[in-house]
Symmetry: C2
DNA sequence: TAAAGATGTTAGGTTTCCTAACATGGTTTT
DNA sequence: AAAACCATGTTAGGAAACCTAACATCTTTA
C-alpha cells in the first residue's frame, strides 16, 4: 500500500508542531534559519513539517535545556549526517570560538555530573 | 514516553487530509455532517483530523466507489461500532427504503463478482 | 415531474501563518 | 564598562487556508 505514513511526509502545520514540541513559532523558524530543519512549503508558502522534523526539534530542545548553544548543536547534527566532512567545518570564526567555549563548558558539566552519578565524592 | 503518535491524535489539517484521501473539502464536511467522522476543533474552530479519521475517510471513499450510498455506509459503520444496537436502526422511512434498495443491489453485485472470481460460468 | 442525495461553487468573514523589523535580557568580547 | 552577539519575544501588515451558509447542478428515485 502507498497509504503508509512515512516519517518524512510533510503532514503537520506550524500550530501542531508547536504543541507537540512546546516550542514557540519564533524558535522553530529560528532553527530553520540555522538549517537544522528544512520543512516543506505549500504552494501558499506555509511550512509543513514531518514527524522527522518533530523528532529533530525535540532533540534540539533537549540540547538547549542541557545548556548547549546553536553552534554546538549545529555541529552535533553535522557530525550525524556526515561524520567525515564534520572534521573540517566551514564555520565562521565567531561560531568556532563559540563552539570551543561551549566545548569547555560541556567538559566541566560532564565532570560535575559524572561525579554525582558515580558518587566519587569519597575521593575528595 | 508520551511522545508517541496515537491514531486518534488530531494532527492533520483539512488540506493535507484532502491530499491523503483525494476527497474534496465539501465531501469531507458532508461526511462529518453525517457523523461518520467527528474531527477535533482548534480554538479558532478549524477542523483537526486524526490518522483514524483518514482511515475512515478512505473506507468511505472505497464504499462510494463501489456504488454504495450514505445510508448504507452509515449502517456499516454503525454496525461496526455497536453490532447489537445496529439491529434496530432508528432511521427515517426514506433512509430505510434506500438501504433496502442498496442491499438488493449489493446482493446482485456479490453474485456477479463471485461468479467472476470463482468462474462459475461453466454452470450456465 | 417533483423530491432527495451528493457534490460543486460562491460569498463574506475569521484564523493561522508569513516575513521583516525592532525590542530585550543575558553573555562575550573588546 | 561599553559594544557586540545570541536567542527569543513582540508587533505590524499582508496573504493563505479555513469556516459557515446558501444556492446551483446533476442523478436517482418516487
Amino acid at each position: 500500500m502507498s497509504r503508509e505514513i512515512r516519517r518524512t511526509m510533510p503532514l503537520l502545520s506550524m500550530s501542531i508542531v508547536m504543541q507537540l514540541t512546546e516550542l514557540s513559532a519564533r524558535q522553530i523558524r529560528y532553527y530553520e534559519e540555522h538549517h537544522l530543519i528544512e520543512p516543506h512549503r505549500t504552494e501558499g508558502n506555509r511550512r509543513m513539517f514531518s514527524l522527522n522534523d518533530v523528532d529533530i526539534l525535540l532533540e534540539i530542545k533537549d540540547y538547549l535545556e542541557q545548556g548547549m548553544n546553536m553552534a554546538k548543536i549545529k555541529k552535533i547534527f553535522a557530525k550525524k549526517s556526515d561524520p567525515v566532512a564534520a572534521e573540517e567545518p566551514d564555520l565562521t570564526d565567531t561560531e568556532l570560538r563559540r563552539i570551543m567555549r561551549e566545548e569547555m563548558r560541556q567538559a566541566q558539566r560532564m565532570q560535575k555530573s559524572s561525579i554525582r552519578r558515580g558518587d566519587l565524592s569519597r575521593f575528595y
